[in-house]
Amino acid sequence: MMHGTFSILPLRVSGLRFGVRGTELIKGISFELRAGVRTLIIGPNGAGKSLTLRLSHGLIKPTAGEVAWAGGTTDRRRKRHAMVFQRPVMLRRSARANLVHALSLGGLDRSERGRRADEALERFGLGHLADRPARLLSGGEQQRLAIARAWSLRPQVLFLDEPTSALDPASTKAIEEMIEAIHADGVKIVMTTHNMGQARRLGDEVLFLHNGRLLEHTPADEFFAKPRTEEADAFLKGELLH
Protein backbone atom coordinates (compact mmCIF):
# COMPACT_ATOMS: atom_id res chain seq x y z
CA MET A 1 0.00 0.00 0.00
CA MET A 2 1.58 3.26 -1.09
CA HIS A 3 -0.14 6.38 0.12
CA GLY A 4 -0.52 9.33 -2.19
CA THR A 5 0.22 9.68 -5.83
CA PHE A 6 3.92 10.46 -5.55
CA SER A 7 6.58 9.49 -3.07
CA ILE A 8 8.18 12.04 -0.77
CA LEU A 9 11.20 9.75 -0.56
CA PRO A 10 14.11 9.74 -0.71
CA LEU A 11 14.68 12.20 2.12
CA ARG A 12 17.90 14.09 1.61
CA VAL A 13 19.40 15.73 4.67
CA SER A 14 22.51 17.75 4.01
CA GLY A 15 24.86 19.72 6.23
CA LEU A 16 22.32 19.71 9.05
CA ARG A 17 23.32 21.85 12.02
CA PHE A 18 21.41 22.80 15.11
CA GLY A 19 22.49 24.81 18.10
CA VAL A 20 20.99 26.36 21.19
CA ARG A 21 22.56 29.50 22.68
CA GLY A 22 25.92 28.98 21.02
CA THR A 23 26.19 25.28 21.86
CA GLU A 24 26.13 23.21 18.72
CA LEU A 25 24.21 19.98 19.29
CA ILE A 26 24.02 18.72 15.70
CA LYS A 27 27.32 19.32 13.96
CA GLY A 28 26.76 18.92 10.27
CA ILE A 29 24.89 15.70 9.45
CA SER A 30 24.13 14.46 5.94
CA PHE A 31 22.27 11.33 4.93
CA GLU A 32 19.76 10.01 2.46
CA LEU A 33 16.84 7.80 3.47
CA ARG A 34 15.24 5.49 0.93
CA ALA A 35 11.85 3.82 0.94
CA GLY A 36 11.41 0.22 1.95
CA VAL A 37 14.09 -0.08 4.62
CA ARG A 38 13.63 0.46 8.32
CA THR A 39 16.15 3.00 9.58
CA LEU A 40 17.21 2.81 13.22
CA ILE A 41 19.00 5.80 14.73
CA ILE A 42 21.16 4.76 17.64
CA GLY A 43 23.88 6.25 19.78
CA PRO A 44 24.63 7.25 23.37
CA ASN A 45 22.51 9.75 25.29
CA GLY A 46 23.00 13.27 23.99
CA ALA A 47 24.20 12.05 20.61
CA GLY A 48 21.42 14.01 18.89
CA LYS A 49 19.12 11.13 17.91
CA SER A 50 15.94 12.80 19.00
CA LEU A 51 16.97 16.17 17.56
CA THR A 52 17.72 14.56 14.21
CA LEU A 53 14.19 13.12 14.15
CA ARG A 54 12.64 16.45 15.14
CA LEU A 55 14.65 18.34 12.54
CA SER A 56 13.70 15.82 9.85
CA HIS A 57 10.03 15.98 10.86
CA GLY A 58 10.16 19.78 10.74
CA LEU A 59 9.28 20.39 14.39
CA ILE A 60 12.37 22.53 14.80
CA LYS A 61 14.30 24.54 12.26
CA PRO A 62 17.98 23.80 11.65
CA THR A 63 20.46 26.61 12.17
CA ALA A 64 22.08 25.50 8.93
CA GLY A 65 21.65 22.79 6.33
CA GLU A 66 18.66 21.38 4.58
CA VAL A 67 15.96 18.76 4.97
CA ALA A 68 14.70 18.05 1.47
CA TRP A 69 11.84 15.74 0.60
CA ALA A 70 11.36 14.54 -2.96
CA GLY A 71 8.58 16.42 -4.70
CA GLY A 72 8.95 19.37 -2.34
CA THR A 73 6.05 18.75 0.01
CA THR A 74 5.85 21.99 1.87
CA ASP A 75 2.13 22.05 2.62
CA ARG A 76 2.07 21.47 6.38
CA ARG A 77 -1.54 20.40 6.54
CA ARG A 78 -1.05 17.62 4.07
CA LYS A 79 2.24 16.58 5.53
CA ARG A 80 3.06 13.07 4.43
CA HIS A 81 5.16 12.15 7.43
CA ALA A 82 4.00 11.58 10.99
CA MET A 83 5.72 11.24 14.33
CA VAL A 84 5.23 9.18 17.47
CA PHE A 85 6.82 10.55 20.64
CA GLN A 86 8.44 8.85 23.58
CA ARG A 87 5.58 9.97 25.81
CA PRO A 88 2.32 10.04 23.87
CA VAL A 89 0.22 13.15 24.38
CA MET A 90 -3.46 12.31 24.48
CA LEU A 91 -6.18 14.91 24.68
CA ARG A 92 -8.80 14.81 27.44
CA ARG A 93 -11.38 13.08 25.31
CA SER A 94 -12.13 9.55 24.17
CA ALA A 95 -9.60 7.41 22.32
CA ARG A 96 -11.65 7.65 19.15
CA ALA A 97 -12.08 11.42 19.51
CA ASN A 98 -8.29 11.74 19.69
CA LEU A 99 -8.01 10.12 16.28
CA VAL A 100 -10.84 12.20 14.88
CA HIS A 101 -9.11 15.36 16.14
CA ALA A 102 -5.84 14.39 14.44
CA LEU A 103 -7.65 13.61 11.20
CA SER A 104 -9.42 16.96 11.38
CA LEU A 105 -6.02 18.67 11.70
CA GLY A 106 -4.97 16.54 8.75
CA GLY A 107 -7.64 18.33 6.74
CA LEU A 108 -10.07 15.44 6.26
CA ASP A 109 -13.80 15.85 5.67
CA ARG A 110 -16.06 15.36 8.66
CA SER A 111 -17.56 12.13 7.30
CA GLU A 112 -14.20 10.67 6.38
CA ARG A 113 -12.69 11.30 9.86
CA GLY A 114 -14.97 8.89 11.69
CA ARG A 115 -14.52 6.18 9.12
CA ARG A 116 -10.73 6.46 9.19
CA ALA A 117 -10.62 6.59 13.00
CA ASP A 118 -12.66 3.40 13.28
CA GLU A 119 -10.56 1.73 10.63
CA ALA A 120 -7.34 2.53 12.50
CA LEU A 121 -8.73 1.36 15.85
CA GLU A 122 -9.97 -1.90 14.35
CA ARG A 123 -6.78 -2.54 12.43
CA PHE A 124 -4.66 -2.50 15.60
CA GLY A 125 -7.18 -4.23 17.85
CA LEU A 126 -8.01 -1.10 19.82
CA GLY A 127 -11.72 -1.04 18.95
CA HIS A 128 -12.74 -1.95 22.49
CA LEU A 129 -10.99 1.19 23.80
CA ALA A 130 -12.72 3.57 21.38
CA ASP A 131 -15.01 5.24 23.91
CA ARG A 132 -12.65 5.16 26.88
CA PRO A 133 -11.09 8.45 28.02
CA ALA A 134 -7.66 8.34 26.37
CA ARG A 135 -5.84 9.77 29.37
CA LEU A 136 -7.05 6.99 31.62
CA LEU A 137 -5.57 4.25 29.44
CA SER A 138 -2.33 2.54 30.48
CA GLY A 139 0.97 3.80 29.10
CA GLY A 140 1.17 0.90 26.66
CA GLU A 141 -2.39 1.43 25.45
CA GLN A 142 -1.76 5.15 25.01
CA GLN A 143 1.35 4.48 22.93
CA ARG A 144 -0.51 1.95 20.76
CA LEU A 145 -3.23 4.54 20.33
CA ALA A 146 -0.61 7.14 19.38
CA ILE A 147 0.75 4.83 16.70
CA ALA A 148 -2.76 4.08 15.43
CA ARG A 149 -3.38 7.84 15.36
CA ALA A 150 -0.22 8.40 13.32
CA TRP A 151 -1.11 5.53 10.96
CA SER A 152 -4.64 6.86 10.43
CA LEU A 153 -3.05 9.93 8.81
CA ARG A 154 -1.73 7.67 6.02
CA PRO A 155 1.87 8.84 6.25
CA GLN A 156 4.53 7.69 3.82
CA VAL A 157 7.12 8.05 6.56
CA LEU A 158 6.67 7.35 10.26
CA PHE A 159 9.18 8.79 12.74
CA LEU A 160 9.25 7.12 16.14
CA ASP A 161 11.23 8.61 19.01
CA GLU A 162 12.05 5.86 21.52
CA PRO A 163 8.45 4.66 21.43
CA THR A 164 8.92 1.82 23.91
CA SER A 165 11.49 3.23 26.34
CA ALA A 166 8.92 3.81 29.09
CA LEU A 167 7.02 0.55 28.58
CA ASP A 168 6.95 -2.99 29.94
CA PRO A 169 8.03 -5.98 27.77
CA ALA A 170 4.48 -6.99 26.79
CA SER A 171 3.64 -3.49 25.55
CA THR A 172 7.01 -3.26 23.84
CA LYS A 173 6.25 -6.46 21.96
CA ALA A 174 2.82 -5.21 20.91
CA ILE A 175 4.33 -1.98 19.64
CA GLU A 176 7.11 -3.73 17.74
CA GLU A 177 4.42 -5.81 16.03
CA MET A 178 2.56 -2.65 15.07
CA ILE A 179 5.74 -1.18 13.62
CA GLU A 180 6.35 -4.37 11.63
CA ALA A 181 2.81 -4.25 10.25
CA ILE A 182 3.13 -0.60 9.27
CA HIS A 183 6.47 -1.35 7.61
CA ALA A 184 4.79 -4.19 5.71
CA ASP A 185 2.25 -1.62 4.45
CA GLY A 186 5.09 0.17 2.73
CA VAL A 187 5.46 2.99 5.22
CA LYS A 188 9.06 4.07 5.75
CA ILE A 189 10.07 3.58 9.41
CA VAL A 190 12.63 5.93 10.98
CA MET A 191 13.10 5.22 14.65
CA THR A 192 15.42 5.98 17.54
CA THR A 193 16.03 3.50 20.33
CA HIS A 194 18.55 2.84 23.07
CA ASN A 195 17.49 -0.79 23.24
CA MET A 196 20.06 -2.71 21.17
CA GLY A 197 17.92 -5.86 21.10
CA GLN A 198 15.15 -3.81 19.55
CA ALA A 199 17.56 -2.26 17.06
CA ARG A 200 18.65 -5.75 15.97
CA ARG A 201 15.04 -6.95 15.71
CA LEU A 202 13.68 -4.00 13.77
CA GLY A 203 16.58 -2.42 11.95
CA ASP A 204 17.42 -2.83 8.26
CA GLU A 205 19.98 -0.06 8.40
CA VAL A 206 21.57 1.92 11.18
CA LEU A 207 22.48 5.57 11.59
CA PHE A 208 25.01 5.74 14.41
CA LEU A 209 25.26 9.19 15.97
CA HIS A 210 27.79 10.39 18.48
CA ASN A 211 28.25 13.92 19.83
CA GLY A 212 26.07 15.45 17.13
CA ARG A 213 27.91 13.75 14.28
CA LEU A 214 26.90 10.88 12.03
CA LEU A 215 29.63 8.27 12.34
CA GLU A 216 28.07 5.36 10.47
CA HIS A 217 25.27 4.75 8.03
CA THR A 218 25.41 1.02 7.37
CA PRO A 219 23.18 -2.03 6.91
CA ALA A 220 22.13 -3.31 10.33
CA ASP A 221 23.67 -6.80 10.12
CA GLU A 222 26.97 -5.30 9.07
CA PHE A 223 26.83 -2.67 11.82
CA PHE A 224 26.17 -5.16 14.58
CA ALA A 225 28.68 -7.74 13.25
CA LYS A 226 31.53 -5.41 12.46
CA PRO A 227 31.15 -1.70 13.24
CA ARG A 228 33.49 0.50 11.23
CA THR A 229 34.29 3.07 13.88
CA GLU A 230 35.93 2.69 17.28
CA GLU A 231 33.11 4.65 18.88
CA ALA A 232 30.44 2.30 17.54
CA ASP A 233 32.48 -0.69 18.59
CA ALA A 234 32.85 0.71 22.10
CA PHE A 235 29.14 1.63 22.21
CA LEU A 236 28.08 -1.89 21.22
CA LYS A 237 30.36 -3.35 23.88
CA GLY A 238 28.54 -1.23 26.43
CA GLU A 239 31.46 1.03 27.19
CA LEU A 240 30.85 4.60 28.26
CA LEU A 241 31.43 7.07 25.46
CA HIS A 242 32.34 10.70 25.87
Partner: protein, 233 residues
Amino acid sequence: MDGQGAFVTAINLIVSGDAALAEIVGLSLRVTLSAVFLSCLVGLPAGAALALARFPGRGGVIVVFNSLMGLPPVVAGLVVYLTLSRSGPLGPLALLFTPTAMIIAQTVLITPIIVSLTRSVIEDLWREYEDQLRSLGSSALRAVPTLLWDGRFSLVTVVLAGLGRAMAEVGAVLIVGGNIAGHTRTMTTAIALETARGDLALALGLGIILLSLTLLLNAGAFVSGRVAQRTAG
Protein backbone atom coordinates in the same frame (compact mmCIF):
# COMPACT_ATOMS: atom_id res chain seq x y z
CA MET B 1 -30.05 46.61 68.12
CA ASP B 2 -27.50 44.12 69.46
CA GLY B 3 -25.77 41.52 67.32
CA GLN B 4 -27.83 38.58 68.53
CA GLY B 5 -31.15 40.33 67.90
CA ALA B 6 -29.94 41.34 64.47
CA PHE B 7 -29.04 37.73 63.70
CA VAL B 8 -32.54 36.48 64.62
CA THR B 9 -34.17 39.21 62.52
CA ALA B 10 -31.82 38.37 59.65
CA ILE B 11 -32.85 34.71 59.72
CA ASN B 12 -36.52 35.77 59.80
CA LEU B 13 -36.00 38.01 56.77
CA ILE B 14 -34.43 35.17 54.81
CA VAL B 15 -36.99 32.55 55.83
CA SER B 16 -39.98 34.82 55.20
CA GLY B 17 -38.72 35.53 51.68
CA ASP B 18 -38.69 39.31 52.11
CA ALA B 19 -39.43 40.95 48.73
CA ALA B 20 -36.84 43.74 49.01
CA LEU B 21 -34.23 41.20 50.02
CA ALA B 22 -35.10 38.89 47.12
CA GLU B 23 -34.82 41.77 44.69
CA ILE B 24 -31.37 42.73 45.96
CA VAL B 25 -30.14 39.13 45.74
CA GLY B 26 -31.62 38.77 42.24
CA LEU B 27 -29.93 41.91 40.95
CA SER B 28 -26.59 40.95 42.49
CA LEU B 29 -26.66 37.57 40.77
CA ARG B 30 -27.73 39.08 37.48
CA VAL B 31 -24.95 41.67 37.50
CA THR B 32 -22.23 39.32 38.69
CA LEU B 33 -23.08 36.37 36.46
CA SER B 34 -23.44 38.63 33.40
CA ALA B 35 -20.05 40.19 34.12
CA VAL B 36 -18.41 36.78 34.61
CA PHE B 37 -19.99 35.52 31.39
CA LEU B 38 -18.75 38.51 29.37
CA SER B 39 -15.30 38.33 30.95
CA CYS B 40 -15.00 34.66 30.06
CA LEU B 41 -16.18 35.30 26.52
CA VAL B 42 -13.31 37.75 26.07
CA GLY B 43 -10.80 36.57 28.66
CA LEU B 44 -10.56 32.83 27.96
CA PRO B 45 -9.64 33.12 24.26
CA ALA B 46 -7.52 36.23 24.91
CA GLY B 47 -5.62 34.51 27.72
CA ALA B 48 -5.05 31.41 25.60
CA ALA B 49 -3.90 33.52 22.64
CA LEU B 50 -1.50 35.41 24.92
CA ALA B 51 -0.12 32.08 26.13
CA LEU B 52 0.66 30.92 22.58
CA ALA B 53 1.52 34.13 20.78
CA ARG B 54 5.10 35.31 20.49
CA PHE B 55 5.49 39.00 19.72
CA PRO B 56 7.72 41.87 20.83
CA GLY B 57 6.40 43.39 24.04
CA ARG B 58 4.63 40.21 25.09
CA GLY B 59 6.32 40.30 28.50
CA GLY B 60 5.04 43.82 29.03
CA VAL B 61 1.49 42.81 28.15
CA ILE B 62 1.67 39.93 30.64
CA VAL B 63 2.93 42.23 33.39
CA VAL B 64 0.14 44.73 32.70
CA PHE B 65 -2.56 42.05 32.91
CA ASN B 66 -1.01 40.56 36.04
CA SER B 67 -1.01 44.02 37.65
CA LEU B 68 -4.60 44.66 36.59
CA MET B 69 -5.60 41.59 38.62
CA GLY B 70 -5.00 43.80 41.63
CA LEU B 71 -6.91 46.75 40.18
CA PRO B 72 -8.74 48.43 43.08
CA PRO B 73 -12.49 48.17 42.41
CA VAL B 74 -12.99 51.87 43.18
CA VAL B 75 -10.48 52.76 40.47
CA ALA B 76 -12.25 50.50 37.96
CA GLY B 77 -15.51 52.11 39.05
CA LEU B 78 -14.08 55.58 38.63
CA VAL B 79 -12.81 54.85 35.12
CA VAL B 80 -16.16 53.45 34.04
CA TYR B 81 -17.92 56.38 35.78
CA LEU B 82 -15.86 58.89 33.80
CA THR B 83 -16.53 57.01 30.58
CA LEU B 84 -20.28 56.80 31.14
CA SER B 85 -20.89 60.18 32.80
CA ARG B 86 -22.83 62.76 30.81
CA SER B 87 -19.68 64.49 29.55
CA GLY B 88 -17.79 61.24 29.00
CA PRO B 89 -17.27 59.47 25.64
CA LEU B 90 -20.21 57.12 26.23
CA GLY B 91 -22.34 59.72 28.02
CA PRO B 92 -25.09 59.85 25.34
CA LEU B 93 -25.95 56.20 26.10
CA ALA B 94 -27.22 57.30 29.54
CA LEU B 95 -25.98 54.12 31.19
CA LEU B 96 -24.72 55.62 34.45
CA PHE B 97 -26.59 54.41 37.54
CA THR B 98 -28.09 51.42 35.69
CA PRO B 99 -27.42 47.69 36.15
CA THR B 100 -25.73 47.76 32.71
CA ALA B 101 -23.14 50.19 34.04
CA MET B 102 -22.51 47.84 36.96
CA ILE B 103 -22.02 44.90 34.60
CA ILE B 104 -19.53 46.96 32.56
CA ALA B 105 -17.59 47.95 35.67
CA GLN B 106 -17.37 44.39 36.96
CA THR B 107 -16.39 43.10 33.52
CA VAL B 108 -13.53 45.63 33.45
CA LEU B 109 -12.54 44.48 36.92
CA ILE B 110 -12.46 40.71 36.36
CA THR B 111 -11.46 40.34 32.70
CA PRO B 112 -7.76 40.82 33.61
CA ILE B 113 -8.11 38.06 36.22
CA ILE B 114 -9.53 35.66 33.66
CA VAL B 115 -6.90 36.63 31.06
CA SER B 116 -3.92 36.28 33.41
CA LEU B 117 -4.93 33.02 35.04
CA THR B 118 -6.00 31.50 31.71
CA ARG B 119 -2.65 32.49 30.22
CA SER B 120 -0.84 30.68 32.99
CA VAL B 121 -2.95 27.50 32.72
CA ILE B 122 -2.75 27.34 28.92
CA GLU B 123 0.97 28.09 28.85
CA ASP B 124 1.64 25.01 31.00
CA LEU B 125 -0.62 22.90 28.83
CA TRP B 126 0.99 24.14 25.62
CA ARG B 127 4.41 23.16 26.94
CA GLU B 128 3.11 19.61 27.22
CA TYR B 129 1.13 19.52 23.96
CA GLU B 130 3.13 21.70 21.57
CA ASP B 131 5.27 19.05 19.85
CA GLN B 132 2.37 16.66 19.43
CA LEU B 133 -0.08 19.25 18.12
CA ARG B 134 2.46 20.83 15.79
CA SER B 135 3.37 17.37 14.52
CA LEU B 136 -0.28 16.79 13.69
CA GLY B 137 -0.25 20.03 11.72
CA SER B 138 -1.89 22.40 14.20
CA SER B 139 -1.03 26.09 14.10
CA ALA B 140 -0.90 27.99 17.38
CA LEU B 141 -4.19 29.67 16.52
CA ARG B 142 -5.88 26.36 15.76
CA ALA B 143 -4.58 25.01 19.09
CA VAL B 144 -6.46 27.65 21.12
CA PRO B 145 -9.86 25.88 21.21
CA THR B 146 -8.18 22.50 21.71
CA LEU B 147 -6.20 23.77 24.69
CA LEU B 148 -9.15 25.60 26.23
CA TRP B 149 -11.18 22.40 26.09
CA ASP B 150 -8.36 20.26 27.46
CA GLY B 151 -7.71 22.75 30.25
CA ARG B 152 -11.38 22.89 31.22
CA PHE B 153 -10.92 21.47 34.72
CA SER B 154 -8.25 24.00 35.64
CA LEU B 155 -10.17 26.77 33.94
CA VAL B 156 -13.19 26.19 36.18
CA THR B 157 -11.01 27.43 39.04
CA VAL B 158 -10.07 30.47 36.95
CA VAL B 159 -13.73 31.29 36.38
CA LEU B 160 -14.46 30.83 40.09
CA ALA B 161 -11.68 33.27 40.96
CA GLY B 162 -13.37 35.84 38.72
CA LEU B 163 -16.78 35.04 40.17
CA GLY B 164 -15.51 35.39 43.73
CA ARG B 165 -13.99 38.76 42.97
CA ALA B 166 -17.19 40.01 41.31
CA MET B 167 -19.50 38.74 44.06
CA ALA B 168 -17.44 40.29 46.82
CA GLU B 169 -16.66 43.75 45.48
CA VAL B 170 -18.47 46.92 46.55
CA GLY B 171 -16.51 49.86 45.24
CA ALA B 172 -17.07 49.60 41.51
CA VAL B 173 -20.81 48.86 41.60
CA LEU B 174 -21.34 51.54 44.24
CA ILE B 175 -19.71 54.25 42.13
CA VAL B 176 -21.35 53.43 38.80
CA GLY B 177 -24.62 52.03 40.18
CA GLY B 178 -25.26 54.55 42.92
CA ASN B 179 -26.92 52.02 45.27
CA ILE B 180 -30.42 53.14 44.29
CA ALA B 181 -33.06 51.15 46.15
CA GLY B 182 -35.06 48.88 43.89
CA HIS B 183 -32.85 49.71 40.92
CA THR B 184 -29.11 49.28 41.46
CA ARG B 185 -28.85 48.04 45.03
CA THR B 186 -26.79 44.85 45.33
CA MET B 187 -25.98 42.69 48.33
CA THR B 188 -22.60 44.28 48.92
CA THR B 189 -23.71 47.90 48.50
CA ALA B 190 -26.74 47.25 50.67
CA ILE B 191 -24.57 45.75 53.40
CA ALA B 192 -22.35 48.83 53.31
CA LEU B 193 -25.33 51.20 53.44
CA GLU B 194 -27.42 49.34 56.04
CA THR B 195 -24.43 48.93 58.34
CA ALA B 196 -23.77 52.66 58.12
CA ARG B 197 -27.45 53.37 58.83
CA GLY B 198 -27.54 50.92 61.73
CA ASP B 199 -29.92 48.38 60.17
CA LEU B 200 -27.73 45.48 61.13
CA ALA B 201 -30.44 42.86 60.58
CA LEU B 202 -30.76 43.47 56.86
CA ALA B 203 -26.97 43.81 56.52
CA LEU B 204 -26.39 40.58 58.37
CA GLY B 205 -29.13 38.73 56.47
CA LEU B 206 -27.56 39.80 53.19
CA GLY B 207 -24.13 38.81 54.47
CA ILE B 208 -25.37 35.33 55.32
CA ILE B 209 -26.97 34.93 51.89
CA LEU B 210 -23.86 36.23 50.13
CA LEU B 211 -21.61 33.77 51.95
CA SER B 212 -24.00 30.86 51.39
CA LEU B 213 -24.32 31.57 47.69
CA THR B 214 -20.56 31.78 47.27
CA LEU B 215 -20.11 28.55 49.18
CA LEU B 216 -22.83 26.83 47.16
CA LEU B 217 -21.42 27.90 43.78
CA ASN B 218 -17.92 26.82 44.72
CA ALA B 219 -19.06 23.50 46.17
CA GLY B 220 -21.09 22.82 43.03
CA ALA B 221 -18.15 23.60 40.78
CA PHE B 222 -15.80 21.51 42.90
CA VAL B 223 -18.00 18.44 42.96
CA SER B 224 -18.93 18.54 39.28
CA GLY B 225 -15.28 19.14 38.41
CA ARG B 226 -14.19 16.12 40.41
CA VAL B 227 -16.78 13.89 38.83
CA ALA B 228 -15.97 15.11 35.32
CA GLN B 229 -12.26 14.72 35.87
CA ARG B 230 -12.69 11.15 37.05
CA THR B 231 -14.57 10.28 33.89
CA ALA B 232 -12.36 12.22 31.45
CA GLY B 233 -8.90 11.79 32.95
